[in-house]
C-alpha cells in the first residue's frame, strides 16, 4: 500500500481556526476566542514552572520573594512620597493653623464667597467646553478623511499636530497678540468688531482657538488611538451601502465607536484648559489658573485649597472617563480579537 497522505482530508474537515460548534459560544466569547483562552494558562505555566525550578535550585524561594516585595515596597514608598508629599503638605497647610494650634476647614468654606472665584470657574468651564467642541469639530472629520482617503498624509498631519509641543506658549501668544492688533487702527470695521468679540472679558473667544492648538498633540493622540481600535473603512462602507449619508455615518456610526478616544481627548483638553496660565495671563484674561495666582495671593490658604479642590475634580472626571471609556474599549477589543 502506498504511503497515505491524510493532510488534505484533515484540512477539508476543519482547520484549527475556530473549533467548537457554532452557536454554542458562551456569552462574551465565540468559539474563535475559546482556544486562546484555554491555551493561555499552558503558555503562562511553562515559564512560571521554569522560574520556580530555578529558584528552588538556588534555595530560599520565600527569602527571594520577600526580597522582591521589600524592593517593590521601597520603590512604591519613594514614588508615593514624591507624588503625595506635596499634596499632603498642601492639605496640611490649608487645614492646620500653627498659631492657634487647631484644625479648621474654613478656607474651603471661604472659597465660594471669594471674589471672582465663581466667575473664573464658570469662564474656565465654558472655555474648556468650547475648546473641546472646536477641537473635535476640526479633528474628527479631518482624521476620518485622512484615514479613509489619504492615509499617506497621516504622518504629515501628525507632525503638524505635534508642533505645539515644541513651540513655547509665550511665542504663540506673541503671534496671537499681533494678529489681534490688526483691527485696532480701523475702528468700526468688521475686523475691529471681530477683535473686540474675540477679546471680550466675559468670554474671550480667542482663548479656545489658542487652547485648541495647545491641546492638539494630546487630542490627536487620543483620537488616533480610538480610530486604530475600529475598522473604520468597513464601518463606513457597511453604513454607506445601507443608504447612510455622510453626516449619518459620522453621527450614528463613527462617533459612537470613537467615544473612548474622544473622552480621553476631552479629559486631557479639560485638564490643560484648567491649568493654563501663560496665554490667558499675557492676553489679560482671568480664568481659573490666573485667578489663583492674582487674587489668591493675599489670603495664603485659599488658593492652595482651590488648587486641591480642582485637582480632586480633575481626578473625579478622569476616573469617570476611564470607567466609561474602558467599557467601550473592552467591547471593541473583544470584537476585534
Amino acid at each position: 500500500m502506498a504511503r497515505l497522505v491524510t493532510g488534505e482530508v484533515a484540512e477539508d474537515r476543519g482547520g484549527p481556526e475556530g473549533g467548537g460548534p457554532e452557536g454554542a459560544a458562551p456569552e462574551g466569547g465565540g468559539p474563535d476566542r475559546a482556544m486562546p483562552e484555554i491555551a493561555a494558562p499552558d503558555r503562562a505555566a511553562s515559564p512560571g514552572r521554569a522560574v520556580g525550578a530555578r529558584w528552588s535550585a538556588r534555595g530560599g524561594v520565600t527569602g527571594r520573594l520577600s526580597r522582591v516585595r521589600w524592593w517593590r515596597a521601597a520603590i512604591l514608598g519613594v514614588v508615593g512620597i514624591y507624588l503625595l508629599g506635596p499634596l499632603v503638605s498642601a492639605l496640611w497647610f490649608t487645614v492646620y493653623n500653627p498659631r492657634l494650634r487647631e484644625f479648621s476647614l474654613a478656607p474651603y468654606g471661604q472659597l465660594f464667597g471669594a471674589s471672582g472665584f465663581p466667575a473664573s470657574v464658570r469662564m474656565t468651564f465654558l472655555l474648556a467646553l468650547t475648546t473641546i467642541a472646536l477641537e473635535f469639530a476640526l479633528l474628527v472629520p479631518a482624521m476620518v478623511a485622512i484615514r479613509l482617503r489619504l492615509p499617506r498624509l497621516r504622518g504629515v498631519v501628525e507632525s503638524i499636530a505635534m508642533v505645539p509641543l515644541v513651540v513655547s506658549p509665550v511665542a504663540l501668544t506673541a503671534g496671537v497678540s499681533s494678529v489681534l492688533g490688526w483691527g485696532l487702527n480701523d475702528q468700526g470695521s468688521w475686523i475691529f468688531r471681530l477683535d473686540a468679540d474675540l477679546q471680550s472679558q466675559s468670554f474671550p473667544l480667542i482663548l479656545p482657538f489658542v487652547y485648541a492648538i495647545l491641546a492638539l498633540p494630546f487630542a490627536f493622540r487620543a483620537l488616533d488611538a480610538g480610530l486604530r481600535a475600529v475598522d473604520l473603512k468597513i464601518l463606513v462602507e457597511a453604513s454607506r451601502g445601507l443608504g447612510a449619508s455622510w453626516p449619518i455615518v459620522l453621527w450614528r456610526v463613527l462617533l459612537p465607536n470613537l467615544r473612548a478616544g474622544m473622552l480621553s481627548g476631552a479629559v486631557l483638553t479639560l485638564a490643560l484648559v484648567f491649568g493654563e496660565y501663560t496665554v490667558a495671563s499675557i492676553l489679560g484674561f482671568v480664568p481659573f489658573a490666573v485667578w489663583i495666582v492674582q487674587d489668591g495671593q493675599g489670603s495664603g490658604q485659599l488658593p492652595i485649597a482651590v488648587s486641591l479642590l480642582s485637582l480632586l475634580l480633575s481626578w473625579a472626571v478622569l476616573f469617570l472617563v476611564s470607567f466609561l471609556g474602558g467599557r467601550r474599549a473592552a467591547a471593541v477589543t473583544d470584537r476585534s480579537s
Binding site: A2, L242, N257
Partner: protein, 353 residues
C-alpha cells in the same frame, strides 16, 4: 423582494500602472447567483466594489435592470453587501444592526423590530437579537451581516468572500444557508470568492477571472467538464497535463491510447499537451522489471479522500499524473511500485505547449 438584472459592461479600472479590470463584461439574470472566481489580484473584488459603488470605474458601466447606475453613490444603489471581515456596528445589538438600514428609510419602530426578528430567524439566529457583536461567534456575526444586508430588500445582494474568515465547519454550514436564503428570496446575487469548491457548489454560474478579464462564465458542471481555456481548466479542479500527439483531426494519442478530442484542436502530427481530470485516468499495476514504457511510472503517494484515493504517479519523463481510484483498489498500488497510465475518458482540453 424584487429581483433585478445586473450588467457589467466593459469595466476598466487602473491603480497606477496596475490594470485591475480590463474590459470586464458580465451579466446576471434576475434571481441568479453568479460566483466571481479567480486568483488573488485578478480584479474580482474590484469588480464587486464597483458594483456596490465604493469604487468608480475608469471606463464602462454598471446597469441595473437596464438603468445606468454608475454615477450613483453607494448610498443610493439599493444593494445589500456582506463583507469579508466582520462588519457589524459594534455599538449596536444584532437586532439594531439588522434594523439600521430600515431606520434610515424611516420605517416605523414596530415594523423595524418585526422585520429584524424575521430576518434573524431566516438566517437561523432568532433569539440572538439582543446580543452585541462581541457576544457572537464569527459565524453568527456573518449571519447577522447577511440579515442586515437583506433587511432593506435590496435589488442585488453582494457577497465579498463572506465565509473566508470562518473555520471550515461553519463555512460549509453557512454556505448552504446562504444558498437556501438566496433561493427562498429569489434575489440576484454576486458572490466573490477565491475558493473554487465554494463557487462550484453554490452558484448557478461561475465567472472565472484572470488579470482583470473574464475567462469563462458557465454553469459549474460545464466549467468543470468543458473549460474554455487552459487557465480555467487548470484553475478549476485538479488537472493533469500529459504529453501526447495528434494522430488525426479528432484523435490524440496519449500513453499509447487514442482518445477522441472535441472543440478546437491542432493539426495531425502536432505534439500537444493533453489535459485530463484525475477521474479520467485509470491505472494498472505492472511488474517492477517491466520493459521501459513512457506510460509507466512510479507511485509516489496515495491520498485517502474517503470513497476514492488519489494516487500520484511520476512517469519516466518526470511528469506527475494524479489518478482517482476507488479506495478499495488503492492497495494495488504501493509506494514506489510501478503503474501504467490508462486514460479512460476523453480529455478536457488539448493545447499546444
Amino acid at each position: 423582494m424584487p429581483a433585478a438584472g445586473l450588467e457589467l459592461s466593459a469595466l476598466r479600472r487602473c491603480y497606477g500602472a496596475v490594470r485591475a479590470l480590463d474590459g470586464l463584461e458580465l451579466a446576471l439574470a434576475p434571481g441568479e447567483l453568479v460566483a466571481l472566481l479567480g486568483p488573488s489580484g485578478c480584479g474580482k473584488t474590484t469588480a464587486l466594489r464597483i458594483v456596490a459603488g465604493f469604487e468608480r470605474p475608469d471606463a464602462g458601466a454598471v446597469r441595473l435592470d437596464g438603468a445606468d447606475i454608475t454615477p450613483l453613490s453607494a448610498a443610493k444603489r439599493d444593494m445589500g453587501m456582506v463583507f469579508q471581515s466582520y462588519s457589524l456596528f459594534p455599538h449596536l445589538t444584532a437586532a439594531q444592526n439588522v434594523a439600521f438600514g430600515l431606520r434610515l428609510r424611516k420605517t416605523a419602530a414596530p415594523a423595524r423590530a418585526a422585520r429584524a426578528e424575521e430576518l434573524l430567524e431566516l438566517v437561523g439566529i432568532g433569539g440572538h437579537g439582543a446580543r452585541y457583536p462581541h457576544q457572537l461567534s464569527g459565524g453568527q456575526q456573518q449571519r447577522v451581516a447577511l440579515a442586515r444586508a437583506l433587511a432593506i430588500r435590496p435589488k442585488v445582494l453582494l457577497l465579498d468572500e463572506p465565509l473566508s474568515a470562518l473555520d471550515a465547519q461553519v463555512r460549509l454550514q453557512l454556505r448552504d444557508e446562504i444558498r437556501r436564503v438566496q433561493l427562498d428570496l429569489g434575489i440576484t446575487t454576486l458572490f466573490v470568492t477565491h475558493d473554487q469548491e465554494e463557487a462550484l457548489s453554490i452558484a448557478d454560474r461561475v465567472a472565472v477571472m484572470r488579470s482583470g478579464r473574464l475567462e469563462q462564465c458557465a454553469a459549474p458542471a460545464q466549467l468543470y467538464q468543458r473549460p474554455a481555456t487552459a487557465f480555467v481548466a487548470q484553475f478549476v479542479g485538479t488537472m493533469n497535463r500529459v504529453r501526447g500527439t495528434m494522430v488525426d483531426t479528432d484523435l490524440v494519442e496519449v500513453a499509447g491510447h487514442r482518445l477522441p478530442v472535441d472543440g478546437e484542436r491542432p493539426v495531425p502530427g502536432t505534439k500537444v499537451e493533453v489535459l485530463l481530470r484525475p477521474e479520467a485516468v485509470g491505472l494498472e499495476a505492472v511488474p517492477a522489471r517491466a520493459a521501459a514504457d513512457p506510460a509507466v511510472g512510479t507511485v509516489r503517494t496515495a491520498t485517502f479522500l474517503g470513497a476514492i484515493t488519489r494516487i500520484a504517479v511520476v512517469l519516466e519523463d518526470g511528469t506527475q499524473v494524479k489518478a482517482d481510484l476507488p479506495s478499495h483498489r488503492a492497495s494495488e498500488f504501493p509506494a514506489a511500485g510501478r503503474a501504467r497510465l490508462v486514460p479512460a475518458a476523453r480529455p478536457v482540453l488539448v493545447i499546444e505547449p
